[in-house]
Each structure stands twice: as C-alpha cells, then as structure tokens.
Symmetry: C2
Subunit: 337 residues, 2 copies
C-alpha cells in the first residue's frame, strides 16, 4: 500500500476573520502503514460544518483545536480498504473523523459502520449523521419542545435548521423558520412544510417574529447568534428555552463578538438559554437515527444534501456556509471522478 | 380615620440613567376610607431593592411598571390599624407591597401576617423576606447547587448575595464571593464564612476567579451583569448553571446595555443560563422561611440589615444600592421617630 498517495488539506494558520485559502496547505504525502487496531479508509465524502471554524481557533473549547500542521479535522464517510481490526473488513462503509484527505488511517473503534443500502452516502453526514443528531437532541432534549408550543429556528434552510423545524412539526409544534432570501424561504415553507418563514434579508425580522409567534417563542433554536438572537430573546414566552447550537454570524468576529443585549429577557420570562455538544449524546445516536430514518421513510421529514465536487476546492466551498450559499447539508466529494 | 395624613413618594418621571430626586414627587394626602376586604396598615419599614429601578421603566417585564403619578411600589412591613377582613385584626403585623408611604390601604389577601416575636421587623424584608426567598430558590431550585460544587456569587455583601454564599456552604458547596472594597470583603470572608472573596474594586476579577475556582464555576449566581458576568462565563465548569437574579451594573444604561460576549461558553461547557422571578415561588415561601429561620437559629447563617432613617430620605438612600454603599439588606424606616 506504500505507493498510495494522499492529498490533504493541512491547517497552517489560525484565521483572523474569514477563512482564507492561505490558512491551509494542500499537500500530497504517502499513506502511512497500519498499526494494530487501525484501518485504512478511502474517504468518499466530507461534511463541511460551521463548527470547523471553531476548531481552527486556538481557544479552550469542547475539543482541542486542530494543531498547526495537522490535517484539517472533518467528519467523513468512506470505504474500508484494509483493516487491522476484527470489527471492520475491507469493503465496509464507515463514518467518523476522517479529516480532509483522500485516505484516513484511524483506530477502528473511532469509526461507525454504516449500511449504504439504507440511504445515499452523503445522508450519513446530514440527516442520519451529525446534523440529524444535533437537531434531534437539541430540540427534544435541550429544548424540551412539547406539542402545542411554538418553535423558532434560525438558518432554517440549513442542514440542522431544516430538520429542527420538521421534527418540531412531527411533535405537534408550530414551526417558524428564519432564512435568507426568497428561494430559501420558499423551500422552508413549501417544501419542508414549516408553518411560517421569515426572510432576514428582505424583511423586518422582529416584526416577522411578532406576527408568526403571536403567543411568544417557546423554543428558540439558535444557529446564528448576533442580532437575530437578540430579536428572538425579545419575544420569548414564559419558561422559554433558548438552545444555543451555534453562532455563525459571530465566528469570524469572535474577538469582538456581540453578546445578547436582551439576555435579561431570561429573567423577565423565567427562561433559560442552554448550550450543548452533540458528542455527549453518542450513546443515544442509534435512537435518534432510528427515529429520523423512520420519519424519512414515512415522508414526514424531507432532507437534502448540496454535494459539491472536489476535495481540492475545499476553501472556496467552505466559505459558502458563511455566506449562506447552501441549502441543506453541504458535502464535498473526495474521490476524483 | 379621615384625619390621617399620608406622606407618599409618587413616581412622576421615568428615569433615564441614574434615579434622581426629581423623578419623584413628595406629597401628603388623605388616607382613603376602607372598602370591603381591605385593611389599613401603618407602614413601619420599607425594603429598598434594585428591582425597584426596573419597575420605574416603561418596559414589558414580569409585572407592569409603576404608572406615572402612582405611589412608588415597594415591599414593606407594618402594623394593621383597621381591618375590614376577618383574616386580620388591628395590631397584627404584616408584610406585602405597601408602597413608599406612611399608610397603605390594601386587600387583606395581598398581605402576609408575620410574628414580630420571631425576629426584628426589618429581617422580614431581608433573610426572612424577599432576599431570603430569592437566595434560597435561586440557588437551590434554579441553580441546583449540590454538595462539592463551587458556587460563585456577585454582590456577595448584599442582601441576597450574602445569603447565597452561606446557604451554599450549608449545602456543602465551596462559596466564593465578589464584593467591592476591603471592608465588604472582610465581612464576606470573616463574618459570613465564605471560602474566598474577590475584591472587584482592587483586583483582577478574572485572575481571582481562576485562583479561587480552580475546577471552574458550577453555579454562578449573578446580581450584577456586565463585565463580571463575562468573566464568570469564561470560567464555567462543564454543565454549569448561571442564575440570572439581577444586573445592577446595567440598570442605568439599559437602552445601551452590554450583553454577555462570552455566552458561547454555554455551548462549550454544555451550561445553562436561567432567569427567575421570586413571585413564582409564593406557594413555597413557608418552606424557605422555615429553613432559613432554622439555620439562623443554629448560627449557620448570619444576616444583617442596614436600617436608614426616614421615608423622606428615600431618593438619596436608594442610590446607595447602585453605588455599592450598603452591606446586607437596605431598609428605610417610615414612622417618624
């Protein structure tokens, strides 16, 4: 196997502001040989997530930052090429932290086997992967959404947000989304079946929340932070739950980020704001995956992946997340066509 | 009773910035006659609370603002002079929303009878009143403080904060306070028995938190908001609870207030920030009062009231809260000596 060449994106600088091509190095190296318990995975798709922006910063977080010089961390799906562990065999499909590279050498215990007959492979990075887990546990466990309540979600056309609103409706909630532009709004309302959607690019978000959440917001699932978080805080219902999933509007300005000025609404409304990290729910992933797969099969959930071509295009494609240029799960193919 | 003259502080302007004497009118009026179910109360002491600043603003909150021209709302203790309700008799002592005036005419059902043999009357406004209820339910119900955890509290020499740290210690927690100046800090550490105290006027609060909360903060009980809230957020332990009780540093700048920039620490640490309003716990006040009275009797809690003289001095005395010039519960006598 020593002849295998491995194209990799390595992190070489910590971005200040938006991520740039020059924060990474595009290199080709030899694939190392396997140690005991390890497997060699041909990476097929990688997930592009806002959280990756956080992993690039040298800051105390829920996992250590990517070290300078290391392959950029990413969740991927791939096919086992060679295995030194009894739990996996060549030909198996797996998901895990493969990184942005053609081939990953990883401990078998850090990979999860997936069944490619159940869904297209990119879906294991979206509704059946991290996005689905995040929406499910964030809404139901952290957010404690209950039938009859109003759930507001930002980035509603995104991978997580689109699932949050639909799972809310499955649970008998009123789902209101916030998305950018008429196309995304039409997708959220007409394709995904949200009860209402607010276009943050062409409307008054505060007025939209007031109109579409007339009894106040019971659960606000926040993916964006910034001004929209403040507008949502201003309309909380009593005992509301604000689920902090992300803050994509703030990642590039983190050192001078805006805190939620309206946080005292938590006091007035006896409300809570709570963060979570999906890794904590690993023991219950199977429960969520079963539920989501069932709803997909019944047609009660719709999901989509935006598959972009070519690992070599990573920096440019990644920026689409921050410009709001994706609908659904943003995935990059790795294997050259 | 028509000859009784009633001195009153009425709210006549909504303060922008610090409260001024001219926001109030000092008037003398006749005491109205009693309707059915009402009692006439000679007010003896009134409680001066940061929350009163909020009640002056024309803003959606947990209770309506005081209307312009109305007697300023305040919690007081007094003695029943005349009663039109079977539940109370002349000579009974009571507590409730008496307002800033000599005499209150109030529905008997809105008053709670107290036993003046159990404690000095001002204590029914402090440890056995709103301050005690706030500390007890805020720390134990909202904050879910558990033995072995580290509890940090701001305004630790104040009426609520001083009780929070001591109740934390009763429950086997490590109690760390933040207070302003060497006298208050000595009081908190040496008199109240906190494990450690940080002087925000003469020290680096962030470094103090790091030193005295080496495993992070499990419960932060916030009375002040602003920069200190941000410094506490930066040192949360995993699964921490931030209890939002107040934000005295921000009340005068509310329209341009600072939100907590470090709120994404809630995500990293899977933590929550939650507000509460003590009125919601009315059905359980007796439970808290019994517990606090017991700890006081056992010498496990110490409490103090700073009793200032003269209803006529209200505006000047009230400002002491915002300048940090009080230790323990700030109370004003009403009856002229």
């Amino acid at each position: 196997m020593s002849a295998l060449q491995n194209r990799q994106w390595r992190l070489i600088a910590r971005p200040a502001g938006p991520v740039k091509r020059s924060d990474f190095e595009w290199v080709t190296s030899d694939v190392p040989s396997l140690g005991p318990g390890q497997v060699l995975v041909r990476v097929l798709y990688v997930s592009l997530d806002p959280a990756m922006r956080g992993w690039m910063a040298d800051r105390r977080s829920y996992i250590p930052p990517v070290a300078l010089g290391d392959v950029m961390r990413a969740v991927g799906v791939g096919r086992v090429v060679e295995s030194n562990d009894a739990s996996l065999s060549a030909g198996d499909h797996v998901t895990g932290l493969t990184g942005l590279q053609d081939y990953a050498v990883t401990a078998a215990k850090d990979l999860v086997r997936i069944d490619p007959r159940l869904a297209p492979l990119p879906r294991f990075l979206g509704a059946l992967g991290g996005s689905g887990m995040t929406a499910y546990f964030g809404l139901l466990d952290v957010g404690q959404a209950k039938a009859g309540e109003t759930v507001l979600v930002s980035a509603a056309a995104g991978s997580v947000g689109s699932l949050v609103g639909q799972i809310a409706r499955v649970h008998g909630c009123r789902a209101v989304g916030i998305a950018g532009g008429p196309e995304k709004c039409a997708y959220v309302r007409d394709e995904l079946g949200f009860d209402a959607v607010i276009d943050y690019k062409h409307g008054d978000v505060g007025a939209g929340i007031k109109e579409h959440c007339p009894k106040g917001i019971d659960v606000y699932f926040d993916n964006v932070g910034g001004e929209i978080l403040d507008l949502a805080l201003a309309r909380l219902a009593r005992k509301a739950r604000v689920v902090i999933c992300g803050a994509i509007s703030q990642y590039d300005v983190r050192d001078d980020m805006a805190g939620p000025k309206n946080y005292l609404s938590l006091l007035v409304n006896r409300a809570r704001m709570e963060g979570f990290v999906i890794f904590d729910y690993a023991a219950r992933y199977a429960e969520a995956a079963r539920a989501i797969a069932g709803w997909l099969a019944e047609g009660r959930l719709k999901t989509s992946e935006q598959v972009e071509e070519g690992l070599e295009n990573f920096p440019e494609v990644f920026l689409k997340l921050f410009r709001g240029e994706n609908v659904g799960k943003l995935v990059l193919t790795v294997e050259p066509r």
